[in-house]
Amino acid sequence: MATLSVCQPQLGGFSFENCKRNAVLEAEVTKLGCNVPSARKTGTTICGVVFKDGIVLGADTRATEGMIVADKNCSKIHYISPNIYCCGAGTAADTEMTTQIISSNLELHSLSTSRLPRVATANRMLKQMLFRYQGHIGAALVLGGVDCNGPHLYSIYPHGSTDKLPYVTMGSGSLAAMAVFEDRYKQDMEEEDAKRLVRDAIAAGIFNDLGSGSNIDLCVITKGRVDYLRPHDMANKKGVRCVYEHEALPHQTGNYKYKQGTTGVLTKSVIKLDLEVVEETVQTMDTS
């Protein structure tokens, strides 16, 4: 409100000055039949699994804006600390800002305690912040990392509830990915099995959900090592018809050229042209 700034100094943080105006505008616009611009969501499949030595996190790479793909290769696995990574689903800006704020806070915290940060700390910070804003920050997160107590995996919902589980999925493709997990998850898997399981779960989300697509990103976190595989697998290549896994060679669909030798050759005559060199000049290019 304009008058408040006259008497008291302005505070930082969210400002609700334009909310009433926005509500009135929204009512007017819907009366005319148009749509208000919507926030860019990630409409995603993200998942994580705990294996013998650590965590594997997986995500697709499509960002949607209503019915349009806004970003074909966006990165949904965010860095929180050297041993903790977080996948984000929901409104893209919210997940980005939330993970960056928590990453900064965790860095300050670890500098002041001079210890490697724990996953439970990141979970608690995220949960308290999301509850404070009562779900208006649309960030659904899968948080995973390895700390002094071993590997941990959490799923965090926009309203602030969290679950600590051995395998979690979030996003619009979460049911497809969870179906794959429920079928094939075993305790104490090897790294390669875990990577394959996560890749298949994300692929299930990509092929069965409109909001997910493009490539599969993986992040493998173990004690002392992080492998950020981007892209791990390009499930949907643009311009190439789909390639099935069980075929040995990718067949060239859409290639309409005739094979060599389709047309039979009746006669062949070769005429050699005698050309002699008349003049040879060299022109230097100015490449400075």
Binding site: T3, V6, Q10, K20
Partner: protein
């Protein structure tokens, strides 16, 4: 979906007294300073989070102090509040930017980053407070 219009909030909002009008002299609306008054504008918050965000820091402090009182006794919150009061006085005049360094260090805000530090930074605001009016308000002459 998180987009909610004013309609839905009007339905389940409870009228609160936290959004009171600026009352001038003689207990009447101060139209010159605070503009025309409208009951609907003042009665309901424009966003579900507006009130809770306005009072968030106060409520957190109240909760922490009452916890501290229950655990350690009355002396602990009293001593802390005395220190806060002393640190709060280290600031410049209201229309200038003060860093609140001592107060932030006491409260522990120097080791955390939240939306207050990123969005709407007061040092970057386009509006400047009017010095005379702000001093009058601070000294209670208004």
């Amino acid at each position: 979906m998180n987009t909610r219009g004013l309609r839905s909030q009007l339905k389940d909002s409870v009228p609160v007294t936290g959004m009171g009008q600026q009352v001038g002299a003689y207990g009447v609306q101060d139209t010159l300073r605070s503009g025309f008054s409208s009951v609907k504008n003042e009665l309901l918050p424009s966003h579900a989070l507006e009130l809770s965000e306005k009072n968030f820091q106060l409520n957190q402090d109240k909760m922490n102090f009452s916890n501290l009182r229950n655990i350690q006794g009355l002396h602990a919150p009293l001593k802390l509040q005395m220190e806060y009061r002393a640190a709060r006085q280290i600031q410049r005049l209201p229309f200038l930017q003060s860093s609140h360094l001592a107060l932030d260090t006491l409260k522990g805000n120097d080791e955390s980053i939240s939306f207050e530090d990123i969005l709407n930074d007061p040092s970057q605001s386009e509006m400047v407070g009017e010095p005379h009016v702000m001093m009058e308000y601070k000294l209670g002459l208004m």
